[in-house]
């Protein structure tokens, strides 16, 4: 008489498809999955605890490391939440810049997700093409922020630096390149029998289950629920942009692939619209002969020769380019108690220097009123919410992130149980699990 027993199989954390940070304990009956237990926490870095120990502005580098594939959206979300707590508005141009950078990040995120999951199914060339496209976008990010990944670009009350002079043209070129890659990938994957069969009707989740698990973003929209924070609670200038929310029908892996592909196109459209609508920023003027190195400006200011360089600009180090006086007011709120002064004022006069130090010294800094605020933004994976409690001091009392892939990981057993062992990797890839925000 034959006897059958199910087998326990341990997948990860040191498994390439688990990104090194997730452990799945799978109960298999032959090739069929009977049960899954998800273990997370391998990348826990105490984000929320560390935010309680630093000043508001110092939290930005930590937020870069939440969703490290689209760090700009985390920056924007955190800044918007603090601004809500403070009750301040930022200038139009800064809003547009934030939206442009968020949408670029969304495309890089979706590109990475589709590229990685296609590679895990064996489509290596798709991976290389999409990483090439992501590289084009990273070049744009690099041009503005000076960094590719840990950008710390957004500031409370504005952004660090203005757009570079030829940025719109560069962006249009890169967008055209990205579109070309998307068409290539579409040809390679969408009509690919192997890819199609491996994705169709695999990793299904129902509308009701998705809502009950609190899932948002492309994962929820693939089931046909139309919820996007950019439409439901428009922030910044999303209400002025014309875009659609791509929806799926069945909530399987293929739908999630389609939703992400369509969303990238919508994001690229949004970037184009932003460039048409963005108000002019920098005042064009001939600065030849008026640019002084920072050290000289400081020396002359010490001798009281400040009146001479009222019209002058300081030559700053590359990481601060775009934040000098000629750009400063267009991209920062007019709030001295929140926003660092233009560099000419910091180096060139005592008021600016004091203002600078009042914002960066411990015990001074930004003081939001006692209260609490929750601000949701549409991250690449879904609703990214920041909940901040302030006790009126310069350190946040509590910073909570609602990470969009946390509920998706909680619902992962729902997608996997009943399926085949070989589909586990495909479904896991479509979750777009980003351990940085999952484990914080």
């Amino acid at each position: 008489m034959t006897q059958t027993r199910s087998m326990l199989l341990n997948v990860g954390p040191s498994h390439p498809a688990m990104h090194g940070v997730i452990r799945l304990m799978v109960e298999v009956d032959g090739e069929k999955i009977k049960g899954v237990d998800v273990e997370i926490g391998y990348l826990h870095r105490a984000f929320e605890k560390m935010c309680e120990t630093v000043m508001y502005a110092q939290c930005f580098p930590y937020t870069d490391r939440l969703n490290y594939v689209s760090p700009l959206i985390n920056n924007v979300g955190f800044a918007l939440c603090v601004e809500k707590l403070l009750g301040i508005e930022i200038p139009e141009r800064a809003k547009y810049i934030r939206v442009i950078m968020s949408e670029i990040s969304r495309v890089t995120d979706h590109l990475t997700c589709i590229a990685a999951s296609a590679m895990e199914l064996g489509a290596m060339s798709v991976f290389l093409y999409m990483i090439k496209a992501r590289e084009y976008l990273y070049e744009l990010v690099e041009e503005i922020t000076g960094a590719r990944l840990t950008i710390s670009y957004v500031r409370i009350g504005g952004v660090k630096a203005d757009l570079t002079p030829g940025f719109a043209d560069h962006a249009f070129q890169k967008i055209a390149e990205v579109r070309r890659v998307l068409i290539e990938v579409d040809g390679l994957l969408t009509r690919n029998r192997i890819f199609f069969d491996r994705m169709k009707d695999v990793g299904k989740i129902s509308k009701e289950d998705a809502i009950s698990h609190g899932i948002t973003g492309p994962f929820l929209r693939s089931t046909g629920v139309s919820y996007d924070v950019r439409k439901a609670n428009p922030y910044l200038i999303y209400d002025r942009l014309d875009f659609e929310i791509p929806l799926g029908t069945t909530g399987d892996n293929l739908d999630r692939y389609f939703v992400r592909m369509a969303e990238m196109e919508q994001s690229l459209r949004m970037i184009e619209q932003c460039f048409q609508q963005i108000p002019e920023g920098e005042i064009s003027g001939d600065l030849t002969g008026c640019v002084i190195p920072a050290s000289q400006m400081v020396d002359r200011a010490k001798m009281g020769q400040t009146r001479e360089f009222i019209e002058d600009e300081v030559a700053v180090d590359p990481t601060l380019q775009g934040s000098t006086r000629k750009y400063h007011d267009a991209i920062n709120a007019d709030k001295k108690e929140v926003v660092l002064p233009a560099k000419e004022n910091t180096y060139g006069n005592i008021e600016g220097l004091m203002n600078h130090f009042k914002l960066v010294m411990y015990g001074h800094g930004i003081h939001p009123p006692v209260g609490e605020a929750y601000f949701p933004v549409e991250g690449a994976n879904g609703e990214l919410g920041f909940y901040i409690v302030s006790d009126g001091r310069d350190l946040p009392w509590r910073v909570r992130v609602h990470p969009p892939c946390f509920p998706i990981m909680a619902a992962l057993p729902k997608c996997l149980v009943g399926g085949m062992m070989a589909d586990l990797v495909a479904t896991f890839g479509s979750v777009n699990m980003i351990a940085g925000e999952l484990d914080r």
Binding site: I211, S212, G214, W397, A410, R440
Partner: protein
């Protein structure tokens, strides 16, 4: 009528405080009424809060250096969202230091399962009726609850290696 007002009217006895700072409707209710209010939020057609978007807790030990007096130590914070009415509501439940326990909402919203595990892990607040209340981000051998204000941020508990 806003969702906050509807709930306030229905549960006026159990209400501790209500405010809408910066436009976020917030209600603080007594812990024993939590499940009744949650069920009301979910089932009442005018409210229809089908998403439990976020669940967390806040430790108010020495809040604002002790200048702001709080009658309780913790608050468990629920963020609800209604897809149909596009409304948000924040619900807070005070929790005493002596017996940190509230009722679970696992059976009403599946998302509560992992969130409640995280709150247990980080704050040591127990959820009565939770099917699998174990640590989620930290390891089982971890001592203490890291997001409590009396847990030093630089304290180390190495799992492997020399014990200090």
């Amino acid at each position: 009528m806003t969702p906050g007002q509807i709930v306030q009217e229905q549960f006026s006895q159990q209400m501790i405080e209500a405010h809408d700072f910066r436009g976020d409707q917030t209600l603080i209710i007594q812990a024993p009424a939590l499940r009744a209010v949650a069920l009301f939020l979910k089932e009442k057609p005018e409210l229809d809060f089908n998403f439990l978007m976020d669940l967390t807790a806040v430790d108010y030990l020495f809040f604002a250096g002790g200048r702001v007096a709080k009658a309780w130590r913790f608050e468990v914070v629920y963020h609800f969202y209604s897809l149909k009415h596009n409304q948000r509501l924040r619900l807070k439940v005070p929790v005493e230091e002596k017996n940190p326990e509230v009722e679970t909402l696992c059976d009403l919203w599946a998302s509560a399962n992992w969130y409640e595990r995280e709150v247990w892990d980080m704050f040591g607040i127990r959820f009565k009726g939770h099917p699998n209340l174990k640590r989620i981000l930290m390891y089982e051998e971890f001592k203490g609850h890291a997001l409590r204000k009396d847990y030093p941020f630089n304290k180390r508990q190495p799992l492997i290696g020399p014990q200090y």
